[in-house]
Amino acid sequence: MRLAITGSAMRSSLGDTVETYKALLAGESGRQPLRYVAPAGVNVRHGYHVDAAGPERPYRASAWLAECVAAAAREAGLDCARQRVVVLVGTGLRELRAVERWRADGQPVDLDALHFGAAIRAALPGVEDVVTVSNACSASSHALALAADLLQLDEADAVLACGADAMTESMLAMIGRVGDESSDAVRPFDADRKGVLLGDGAVAVVVQRAPDDAAAVWLRGVGMSCDAYHETAPDPDGLRAAMADAYRRAGLHPADVGLVLAHGTGTALNDPTEAGVLAGLFTDARPGPLVTGIKGAIGHTSGSAGLMSLLVAVEALRHGQVPPVVGLRTPIPEAAPLRLVVGGPAGTDARIAQVNAFGFGGVNAVCLVEVRHER
C-alpha cells in the first residue's frame, strides 16, 4: 500500500518550512542568547528560539503546533467531519515548562494542557482522536511510524504526525550540568563540537493512503527499535536495527538512497556512533548518499526534530539542492567515509532520503521518503 504525504507545516527558529530551507541553504543559524531562563543558573547561554522578544508566553509549543496542524490539514484538504482523522503528537518535553513555572514562579497550571489534545481539538474542529507520545528526541518520527500503521490497517483515513517542543529549564540544566564547558553552538559531526543546545518549534505532516501514482511525496517506510541498552548513550546495534527495519518495510536498499538527514546532535557520543553506523550501512553503495543535518541551524528541537528533518529532506529532493551542515568545519574521523555537505549547498538528483532520529532511552526511528514529481 502506497502512503503519501499530502500536507505539512513547520515552525522553527528560522521560520516556516520554506524560510527554514532557504536559510539552511544560505548557511544561516537561528541561534540567539538564551531567553526566559537565567543562563548562569543552567550553564547554557544560547538557544534557538521561535518567538520574538517579549515575555514568555505560557503553552508556547501548543500554540505553534496548533498553527502547523491547521496549515497542514488545509494543504491536504482534510474534511475532519467526514474523514477518520487521527492526530499523533510526538514530543520530548510536553508542556512541562508550565509545571516548572507553577513550581518555581507560582504560575497557574492547567493539567489538561500539559499534553496536546485540547490544543489540537481547538485547531481542528471535528477531530477527537489525539494521542500525545512523549518519546524523547525521536518522538515525531515514532508518531510517523504509528501513522503508517494506522493507515495500513485502515483504522484512519488521514493521520497527522506531529512534533512540538518548547525548551524547559530542567532539560537546559541537565545539558549544562553534563557538559564540562558551555556549548556556544551546535556543531554536528565537527571535531570541535562542544555539545547540544535546544531549539523550539513544532511540525505537522499529513499522511494518507495514495489512491494512485500522482502523489508527489511517498512515505516509503518507517523503522523503529529500542536499544534496551543505556538510558542516555546510543547503541550502534539499536541504530542499525531501526535502519534495517525501515529498509525492509520500504522494500529498498541503501544504494537506493541519495540523501541522509542525520540525527547529528553535536554531542560527544551521538555523532561518532551515528557516523560509524552510516559508514557501515553505505559501505557497498559507493559513492554513497550526501549527508546533512539541521541541528546546527535550528538547534535540537527535541521531539520535533525527526519530522523537521523529514520536511527539509523533502525540500532538498524537490529542489535538487542539499543544504550544508551549519556549524561543521572539520569532520570527525568517524565521518571520513561520509559525503557530509560542508560549507555550501550540494546539488543532487536523488529521489529517496533516509531521515534519522534517535532519543534518550535508546528509542530509534528511521524514515525513508521519496519525492516523485518531475523537476
Partner: protein, 308 residues
C-alpha cells in the same frame, strides 16, 4: 481499532497501600510500595529510579511471572517485544526538583544520574533496559485517556506485525508534586503510594482467552445501554461504574486508569476467584476512561468462545 486478533496474554495490577483483595479478591499479599520495590526487583539498578518507574517495573515483573530479583540478561522472548507505557505524572517530581536546585543556585548539586529522569519516557526505556525488550518503545502522556491510548497502541504494534508481544503499562506516582498537580487540575487523588498495572498483548492464535475487541475515542461519556448480555462495566470520569469503592480507586488512576481497567477486566473475565463482591460473571467488559477536558476512550474485552 477493532477485531479480535489481539489476546490479553497476562494481566497484573500493582496498587500498594490498599487492602490487596479490593481489586483482586483472591490476592492475599499487599503489593510492595516503591520504597520496598527491591523485595521484588532486587536492589541493583533502582538507585535514582522514580516511584512510578519502580511501580511500573513491579507490574511488569509480575506479569512476566519472573522470580524475585533482577534478571541477569534479557528475559525469554525479549527481542522484538514492544513496550508501551502511559503516565502523566511519572517524572514531574524530578523536573521540579531540578528547577528547585537551579533556582537556589545549585546546578552542581544536580546529579547527572537524574538526567534520564528529566525525559518523560524514562519509564518505558527503563523497562526495556531491565528486561531486554528491543521492540518499539512508546511513552504515552495523553492525560486521562492515556491508559487506553496505550492499550490501543500496543494492540496496533501487535496487529501491524511490528512486535510479537506488547508489554503495556500504566503507572502514576503519589509524590507531593504529583499530588499538587492533581489538586491544581481538579483530578481525583490516587491511591496513597501510587499505582501501576500491566497487560501483555499478543497475536490471538487458536481459540480461548480474553481478546481485546476494540478501543475508540469519543467526546462525551456514553449512556449505558439497557438490556443486552451481562457485561462488566468500569468507567471513570463519567460518574458511572461498578460500585463506589472501585470507581473511586480506578477514578484516581489518571494515566494508569485504562491499563488498570484492562488488567482487572482480563483477570475477572478469566477467573471467578478474582472477582470482588459486586462483580458478576460476564463474557465481556466495557471499559471507559477519560475526563471532560481530555475526552474519553472506551475499550471492549471479550472472553473468546462465549460471545453472543
Amino acid at each position: 481499532m477493532s477485531g479480535d486478533r489481539v489476546l490479553v496474554a497476562a494481566a497484573t495490577v500493582h496498587v500498594p497501600g490498599i487492602a490487596p483483595d479490593r481489586l483482586i479478591a483472591s490476592a492475599t499479599e499487599p503489593d510492595c510500595g516503591p520504597e520496598e520495590a527491591h523485595t521484588l526487583l532486587g536492589r541493583k539498578g533502582l538507585l535514582f529510579k522514580e516511584p512510578a518507574v519502580r511501580l511500573a517495573m513491579c507490574a511488569v515483573h509480575r506479569a512476566l511471572g519472573l522470580p524475585p530479583g533482577r534478571p541477569t540478561g534479557p528475559v525469554p522472548d525479549a527481542a522484538g517485544t514492544a513496550v508501551v507505557v502511559s503516565s502523566n505524572l511519572g517524572n514531574v517530581a524530578t523536573v521540579c526538583d531540578i528547577v528547585d536546585q537551579v533556582r537556589a543556585g545549585g546546578l552542581r548539586g544536580v546529579s547527572p544520574m537524574q538526567a534520564p529522569n528529566a525525559s518523560s519516557n524514562i519509564i518505558a526505556s527503563s523497562i526495556a533496559i531491565r528486561y531486554g525488550f528491543t521492540g518499539p518503545n512508546l511513552m504515552v502522556c495523553s492525560g486521562a485517556t492515556g491508559g487506553l491510548d496505550a492499550v490501543r497502541l500496543g494492540a496496533l504494534l501487535v496487529r501491524s506485525g511490528r512486535a510479537h508481544r506488547a508489554v503495556v503499562v500504566g503507572a502514576e506516582p503519589a509524590d507531593e508534586i504529583a499530588a499538587g498537580l492533581r489538586a491544581a487540575g481538579g483530578t481525583l487523588p490516587g491511591p496513597p503510594q501510587g499505582m501501576a498495572a500491566c497487560v501483555v498483548l499478543a497475536p490471538a492464535e487458536g481459540s480461548g482467552g480474553v481478546r481485546l475487541h476494540s478501543v475508540r475515542r469519543h467526546r462525551a461519556p456514553e449512556p449505558v445501554p439497557a438490556g443486552g448480555p451481562r457485561t462488566i462495566r468500569l468507567a471513570c470520569g463519567s460518574g458511572s461504574g461498578d460500585g463506589p469503592d472501585l470507581a473511586a480507586l480506578i477514578g484516581g488512576g489518571y494515566g494508569a486508569a485504562g491499563v488498570l481497567q484492562a488488567a482487572l477486566a482480563a483477570r475477572w473475565l478469566t477467573d471467578p476467584a478474582t472477582r470482588p463482591a459486586g462483580v458478576e460473571d460476564a463474557a465481556e467488559a466495557v471499559l471507559t476512561c477519560g475526563s471532560a477536558g481530555d475526552g474519553f476512550a472506551t475499550a471492549r474485552l471479550c472472553r473468546d468462545g462465549d460471545r453472543t
